[in-house]
Amino acid sequence: MNPTEKNSASSSPSDQFLSQVLSCVRFRYDHAVIRQELLDHIEDRKDNYMEEGVKDGEAEILAVSCMGDARELGEALNREHSPLLGWIWRISGWAASICVFLAVVLTILPLGHMMLSPFINSADNIPRDQIVYSQKMEERVQIDDRVIILRKVVFTQTDRNADTGTLHILWDNYEKRLHFSGWGFTLSDCRFTDQSGREYLFSGGYSSAGPLSRCSTELDGFPKGAETLYIDYDRYHRQFHIEIPLLPPGSGTGPISGTNLPGGDAS
């Protein structure tokens, strides 16, 4: 038996028929789909014969013969599976995938980065080795549609023996409505005092861009032993007052209180 005869003998009647059909279909990317559909049909016809009592092998031969001439069928299918149209379809599919990829890379990813960066990047540039104490809080006030959330105060000193240092106030703010009023809020518009009534001026700060802005406001010359920080805002007929008990090093956290005075709106 030569190799050709051996291959024919090992192939089922279905496989031989389908190979002949597909040899006439030039666009090979459609071969798998065509093959499966014709094979399913042959299987269904074969099952029908077997239900009528025909044996397996003979049922398959009969089912294949019902399909007609393999070459005629292959040529008819080839006319419906044009390589030109097939390639146009595949290339347009690739082009669509590339466009989607570029849309994601050029628009969605930068947007996502802008949205997520407030949660990824720290708004503070506080040197860790200078931190004397740090205390978290969750104090929020609202002015019109802008929500201000005080997150943390951090006291730093370059010289641990000094009486004063820098108080960093870390806070977030966002607009509840996307109407882009153009009115921005900055904590530097507030008045900062301690329990002695002494006022401390804004000396620097940082804020990140994006829908949720993460900010830092710094007060230089702030006393190490200050017990309470008062933050007062009174502009454009809007006010709020926040009291932040401060920790001397080694103590626990204290209660935080903050209220909007009439004219504002606390959330």
Binding site: V33, I34, D40, H41, R45, M67, G68, L73, A76, E80
Partner: protein, 114 residues
Amino acid sequence: MQLDKGLIGGSTVLMVLSLLKEKDCYGYEIIRLLEQRSDSTFEFKEGSLYPVLHRMENSGYVTSYMHTADSGKQRRYYRITGKGQEQLAEERRQWDIFSRSVNKVIRGEACGLV
């Protein structure tokens, strides 16, 4: 009964679209329905249905999708589209005109108009 292939070929699309208008079908199911409804008058080479189905899909008269039947067999089903419904209506109209014309001719001969 073996009918002239030309007769069958000209009305295959009409018959297939008519069946698909009733419900979505896969290829073998269409063959069985054609056999049963025609009292086995239409028994043509079953494979020749698939170039017809694929041409109809290329023309937009039908769409296809894979579906697993209750029997557990996964088959490619065909569904008539809006464009296919319009084509069906047109082919029905043409068939009505054609069959009436043929009947007029042969009845005319039978009436002895010679």
